[in-house]
Structures are given as C-alpha cells and as structure tokens.
C-alpha cells in the first residue's frame, strides 16, 4: 500500500477558494445562468407566496362582503326519515341562520301556464322572502302574498317584466283549472347558489291550501347562514340532521370551494410547497453544472486537491454565485415589495417560503458538492487508458 509521509505541506484551502473565484470569472455565461436560476426560484417563491396572502385577504374580504353562505339540508330517497317544511322552519332558531327556504318535491309540483306551454312550479316556504327583499328589494317589492313559488325550469321568467298573470293548469295537458289568473313577480335567486340559478315567481295567490304547506314532505331546505357563524351553524344543523340517518348537510354556492374558511384555504394552498419544488429543480440545475465541470474538477483532483479541498473549491463557486445573486436580487425584490405596497404579513410569508428554498437549496447543493468531490477520483481513473 502507499505510505503517507508525515508532516506534508499541501494545497491550502485559501488557494482552492481563489481558484474557484478565477473559474467563476472565466465562465461568465454559466455563472450568470446559475445565479439567475437561483435568484429566479427564490424570487418566485417570495412573489407567489406573498401573492397567496394577498389572494387570501381578497377572498376573505369577498366572503365578508357577501355576508352569508347557503347551507342545504336534504334527505336521500331511500332514507326512512323524512324532511318536512316544519323541520326547516324550526332551523330558524339555529344560531347564525338568517333565513330559510324549503322546496316541495318535484312530484308535488303545480302546473302553471303563462301564455305558453305549461311548466311545473313547486311550492316553497320559509322566511326567505325577507332575506330576498333585503338583498334584492326591486325584485320583491310588488309582492304581497304568503307563499313563494319557484320556477325550476329557470327560463320562464326573465325578470324584464315587473309582473304578469299566470294560470293554474291540469298537469302537462295545459287544461285550465282555475278561472282567474294569479299575478306573478319574477326575482332572481342566483344568489342562492347551486340549483337556484333560475328566477323565482312570487305569486299573489296560491290555489293549493296553505295550511298544510309546512307539514308536507319537502325535497330540501336551504338555510341562509351568516358568514361569521357558518361553522357553528353547520355543526348544529348536522347534529339534528345527521348523516347516519340519511341526511345530507352541505354548503352550496356557484363556487363550492369558495366556502372554505380563508385561513384553512390559505393553509392548504398548493403553492406552500413551491419552495421544495424550487429547491429540487435548482438542485437538478446545480447537478448539471457539476456534471458539466466534472472534467475540470478531475484536473484539480489529480493536481493534489483531496475531497475536502475540492469540496471547498466547488462550494466556494456555489456560495459566490449565490451571494452575488442575493446582492443583485435583494434590491430588485425590495423595489418590488415597495412598489406593490406589500404589508408585513405578505413579506413575512414570502420571506418564509424564500427562506425555506434558500436553506434547502444551500444544504442540498453543499451535500451534492461533497458527493461530487468524492466522485472526482473515479473521473480521474476514467482518464487513464488501458486499465
């Protein structure tokens, strides 16, 4: 075996570091590419995450401005339990429920005609009218009756007319049942979300008896819930109408996902892992750089730089590029933060993501540098012929 002599003088670490700087200067294009990639990923992490805070804030403001959510209670057809109009009315006592609306089953629909083919219109009830009046005063201002009839075919009333007469008919045949027309007023129910994209017809009189309305089976019950009480309200309703008994209690809106609490939505955002993706991609980029420089590092390896000194050389190249990147990138990021009027929380979240990316990339690349330095020996042996 080869005997190592004692007290040898070797290549100093500072010389290895100086070589690293000379190499960087000699490969300006590659150096700029690495620096730009590192800072680019860092900036992307910062900007994306800071934007996520802004988005969450906008979203929270939108929910707060909207002020309510719609919770729908329904029962599956094969469930032995039923759902009655009175059950829905009872939910008015739940804390946070501002209004409620029940809707009769499809098979119990009445048929009305408004100068055209007959359409099914279902009976509804509840104190939704007050809520609709508050949110859409014009749409209900002329109405003075008790029940509300919903247009489930949705294209019947356009809302362009203030009121028009409707006739009760016999099923789909269209044969008139009552002698007089009743007056109907259209109002938009789009605000109630999924299943309520059409318009409501508010009619002044109802041919069917009103007294039994609350005791009849209903298809669903929609509750208008205050935003600040939405979770509490849902828990309370779910307790009464449990899933084990065949009930379903769900938030409904045009964008159902928009019903997550802003914080929970923010905390589960996919971009929270961007730092990891960035670090992995940059690590791949850096490994490519090392691969490209492999033969040069092998020259250093045969020139007397052991694994430690070679690691110092490679890591000095890496740290220099990163430092230069930060020196140039930080002011640009600072100007961006200033011009975008970002607050502390946005900067904080952005910095956290950028910091994670920075530390992860740093540690991973330094580890890779050591690994690559250890591999240089094999590159040297590859350079020997006839072995």
């Amino acid at each position: 075996m080869t005997d190592p002599p004692k007290a040898r003088v070797g290549v100093r670490a500072s010389r290895a570091a100086r070589e690293a700087l000379a190499n960087i200067a000699a490969r300006v294009g590659l150096s700029v590419a690495v620096t730009a990639a590192f800072v680019g990923f860092l900036g992307s992490c910062f900007v994306t995450e800071a934007n996520a805070v802004v988005d969450a804030r906008v979203y929270a403001a939108r929910l707060a401005a909207q002020g309510y959510s719609i919770l729908r209670v329904s029962v599956s057809q094969d469930s032995p339990e039923g759902l009655k109009g009175a059950d829905c009315l009872g939910l008015a006592k739940v804390e946070g429920v501002q209004a409620q609306l029940w809707m009769s089953k499809a098979e119990d629909a009445h048929w009305f005609a408004i100068g055209g083919p007959p359409v099914p219109i279902r009976r509804t009830g509840g104190d939704i009218l007050g809520f609709l009046s508050a949110t859409n005063p014009d749409g209900v201002s002329h109405w003075s009756g008790a029940p509300i009839l919903l247009d489930v075919s949705s294209d019947l009333a356009t809302g362009k007319r203030q009121s028009f007469p409707v006739h009760l008919v016999q099923g789909a045949s269209g044969r008139a049942v009552g002698r007089d027309a009743v007056l109907a007023f259209p109002t938009s129910l789009t605000m109630l979300g999924g299943g309520f994209e059409g318009n409501a017809l508010l009619v002044s009189d109802l041919p069917a008896p009103n007294s039994s309305a609350e005791s009849q089976s209903v298809e669903s019950c929609s509750l208008v819930v205050r935003e600040d009480e939405r979770l509490k309200a849902k828990n309370a309703v779910s307790l009464v109408f449990s899933a084990s008994r065949g009930y379903s209690v769900q938030w409904v809106m045009l964008n159902a996902d928009a019903l997550d609490p802003p914080r929970s939505r923010f905390e589960t955002r996919p971009t929270r892992w961007l730092w990891l993706v960035g670090a992995i991609v940059f690590l791949a980029f850096w490994s490519l750089y090392l691969r490209l420089r492999r033969s040069e590092y092998a020259v250093y390896a045969v020139s007397g730089l052991g694994v430690t000194k070679l690691s110092i050389l490679v890591s000095t190249e890496f740290l220099t590029l990163v430092t230069v990147g930060l020196l140039y990138g930080s002011p640009i990021l600072g100007i961006g933060v200033y011009r975008a009027h970002l607050g502390w929380s946005e900067v904080n979240v952005g910095m956290a993501s950028a910091g994670r990316y920075f530390v992860a990339s740093l540690l991973a690349c330094l580890a890779l540098n050591v690994f690559a330095s250890m591999q240089c020996r094999s590159a040297t042996l590859d350079a020997l012929k006839d072995r």
């Binding site: 070797g10 020259v299 006839d386």
Partner: protein, 209 residues
C-alpha cells in the same frame, strides 16, 4: 525517493494484471514504461500515484509534500475556460509558489513547446495536440518531485513528441525529480533513457536499442 516493493494488481473479475513489480527511483531518475496494450501500464501509474490501492506489496513515497505528483493524463488536459497561461501555472499556484516565478517558468516552457502565441487564449480554443503539450507544460512548470505521464505524446506529431519527451526526461536531471512516462511511442524517447517493460510478472529492464 519512490520505492515499489512487490506490487501487484488484480482486476475486480479476479484476473491478475501484474504482480511483483519492483522499482526504486531517486530524484534525477527518469524511466519509460512500455508494454502491450492491456498489460496494466496506466494502472501501474495509478498505483504509483496513489489513485489506486495495490492488491499486494507497497509503494513508499518519501516526499514531504502532500501533493507530490504532477500528472500528465490523456484526456484531462486542462481547465478549458481558463487561459493557457493560467493552466500552465496551475500546479505552481496551488502549491503556493511565487506567481512571478511560476509565470516565468510557464512562459519559458510554453515557448519551448510552441504554445507561447496562445498564452491568452482559452484552453478550449486549443487543438488536442496543443492541449496535450499544455498538460506537459503544466507538469513541468511545477516544482513537484514526481511527474507521472500517461502516454503524453499520443496526439503529437513526431517533432513535438520528441520535444515533449526530451523536456520530460531532461527535467528529471535538471530539476532533480522523478519522471515516469508510460508510452508506446519508442521513437519519441530520447536515446539512452531507461525503458522498462511491464509484464504480468513484473517490470523488466530493457536496454535501449
């Protein structure tokens, strides 16, 4: 002094490449190792330079330097993005020698090897033969006590090959160091240099014919 006692090397597949290699070299000695392809000349060089551990025997290097070897390899010819002069000065710079002296020596060697007009060019602009001469200049410009050269002339024309070999062998005497050259190019070797042939059973001295 570089002393090789009973060194042998077995390939991972169990084939014995060579065994019982005995060699004793002192500063000022220069040898050329020859032999048919596949006999393990480059492997022996790697064992002598500490890149590979011998399976048997021992290599004793009495140099007081941590990095005593100046290598001339066939494919690792330089730092391609750096200047030719920087490449020639590399070992001297790493060893902490005075930059002025290293540059002076390097310039002199580059001139002798016909590379002086390329000093400021990047190494990647050189041809294969020029890169090989640059690798020789880098080794010779250093003060390292042992030069290990693996076929340093295989990409060179006759004149340049002879010039390179002459410089390598002269360097042993002039700079008082050990020079070991693995080569197939007997024509390029200077007259009266020591040539040994590697066989499976060790090194055999062969008088120059």
């Amino acid at each position: 002094m570089l002393k090789v006692n009973g060194v042998g090397y077995t390939l991972p597949d169990g084939r014995v490449l060579f065994s019982d290699v005995e060699l004793g070299l002192v500063p000022g000695d220069a040898i050329a190792i020859e032999g048919p392809s596949g006999t393990g000349k480059s492997t022996l060089l790697a064992v002598l330079g500490g890149l590979l551990e011998p399976r048997d025997g021992r290599v004793l290097n009495e140099s007081t330097r941590e990095a005593p070897f100046a290598w001339v390899l066939q494919s690792l010819n330089g730092l391609t993005a750096r200047s030719v002069l920087a490449n020639a000065c590399l070992l001297g710079v790493l060893d902490g020698e005075s930059l002025g002296e290293v540059r002076k020596r390097a310039m002199s060697l580059l001139t002798e090897l016909g590379l002086d007009r390329h000093c400021d060019k990047r190494a990647k602009q050189l041809s294969g033969g020029e890169l090989q001469r640059l690798a020789v200049a880098r080794a010779l410009a250093s003060t390292r006590p042992v030069i290990l050269a693996d076929e340093p002339t295989n990409q060179l024309d006759r004149d340049n090959a002879r010039r390179v070999m002459r410089l390598l062998f002269e360097s042993a005497a002039v700079d008082q160091r050990i020079v070991i050259v693995v080569t197939h190019d007997r024509d390029a070797l200077p007259p009266e240099c020591r040539v040994v042939t590697l066989t499976a059973s060790g090194l055999m001295d062969r008088p120059w014919i």
